[in-house]
Amino acid sequence: MKFQLLLAFLILQLTFIATQCDAQTAKEYIKSGNQLIAVYDFDGLDSLLNQKNDTTYVVNFWATWCIPCVQELPYFEQLLEKYGSEKMKLLLVSLDFRKKVDQSLIPFMAKKKLKSTVVLLDDKNANIWINKVDSTWSGALPATLILNKNQRLFFEKSFTFEELETEYLNSKK
C-alpha cells in the first residue's frame, strides 16, 4: 500500500515536471522583478505550442511599443480570468527587441502587473517564421493565434473583449 502511494506520488511529481517542460525549450531567462521571462527562438516557441494535450492555447503577438497591442492586453487578461481554470493557456509573446528589454519590457511588466505568462520571441529569421505562424500573416502587430488539437485560428487584427471571447469559444467547438 505504502509502495503504491509512493509510486503514485512519484508519477504525480513527474507529470508536474513534464508540464513545466517549457523550461527545456527556452534559449535563456530574463529576470523581471520576481518573475523570469523565458526567451524563445521560433522553434522553441513552436514546440511549446504543439504539445499533444487537450489545452487551448491563446497566443498574442505584441510589443510594448505597439499601441494597439497594449490597448488590447486587458482583454487577454480578462479572458484568462474568466477561462483560466479550464484547459486554457494564455501566452503573451513579446516582439520587443532583446537588447532593449531593460528599457521596455521589464518596466512595462513591473507597472502593469500582468497575470498572463509573458515570453520573448527572439528570432531574427522573421521572413521564415512569420509564415510558420500563419501563411496569411503579413507580419503586422498585433496578431493572435488560438489553437488546440482540433483547430488553429489566426487573426491579424486588434480585438475587443467580446470578439476575443467569441473566437476563443469558437475554437472549442
Binding site: 494597439p68 529569421n125 522573421a126 521572413n127 509564415n131 500563419d134 496569411t136 507580419g139 502587430l141 489566426f154
Partner: protein
C-alpha cells in the same frame, strides 16, 4: 485551415501596375512619381516616425537612396498613419524626423489615407519596388529591406538590394516577396 477576415484583401501583387499619387512632402511641396522623368523606377517605403522597426531601418533607407537614386531608383517614403490616433504621426513630427535623421528622400504624408490601401500596405515599414515599363509602373518586389529588420548588424540576406541589382542587370528577381514584423498601420475605425 484557418479562416480569417482581413480588412485589406486587395492591394498590389507582384506584376500589378501601381497608380501615381500627389502627396505633400515635408518641404511643403507636392510630389508625384511622374515628376521623376529620368527615374527607372522607385523604392516606395511606407514608414512612420515612431515605430521601432521603421526607426531601425532609417539609416538603411538613406543608404539605399544615396546609392540607387544615382542609377535611377530613388526612395520615396510615405507615412500612411492617421495622426488622429497617434499625434506622433503628425506632419509636424514628420518634418522634425526627416530633419533630425537627415532623410535624403521625400517623406510624404498620405493625407486621407488613400494611397496605402491601394498598395495593400499593412504595416510600417513595408517596401514596394516599382519599375517603369511600357505598360506603366510595375510592382517587382514587395516586403522587407533585408532579413534582419530590427538589427542591421545581423543582416545576411539583402532582399531589396538583390532585387534592385537584378533589375539593373536585366535579370529576373529571385526572391520577389518577403515578410518582416512591423507596426500595423493606424486607421481610425470610427
Amino acid at each position: 485551415m484557418a479562416q480569417q477576415t482581413k480588412k485589406e484583401t486587395s492591394g498590389y501583387k507582384i506584376g500589378s501596375m501601381a497608380t501615381d499619387f500627389k502627396l505633400q512632402n515635408v518641404d511643403g511641396n507636392m510630389v508625384s512619381l511622374q515628376d521623376y522623368e529620368k527615374a527607372k523606377g522607385f523604392i516606395i517605403c511606407f514608414t512612420c516616425n515612431h515605430c521601432p522597426f521603421s526607426i531601425a531601418n532609417e539609416s538603411r533607407l538613406i543608404s539605399l537612396d544615396e546609392r540607387y537614386k544615382e542609377v535611377g531608383y530613388p526612395v520615396i517614403a510615405i507615412n500612411p498613419n492617421d495622426p488622429a490616433i497617434n499625434e506622433d504621426d503628425s506632419f509636424e513630427e514628420m518634418i522634425t524626423r526627416a530633419e533630425e535623421r537627415g532623410f535624403t528622400f521625400p517623406y510624404l504624408f498620405d493625407e486621407g489615407q488613400k494611397v496605402f490601401p491601394q498598395y495593400g500596405a499593412t504595416k510600417t515599414p513595408h517596401i514596394y519596388l516599382l519599375q517603369k515599363t511600357k505598360k506603366g509602373l510595375e510592382v517587382k518586389y514587395i516586403g522587407a529591406i533585408d532579413n534582419s529588420s530590427r538589427d542591421e548588424d545581423e543582416v545576411t540576406e539583402h532582399y531589396l538590394e538583390n532585387a534592385l541589382n537584378a533589375l539593373l542587370d536585366g535579370k529576373e528577381i529571385e526572391v520577389k516577396e518577403t515578410k518582416a514584423i512591423g507596426c500595423s498601420i493606424k486607421v481610425d475605425k470610427s
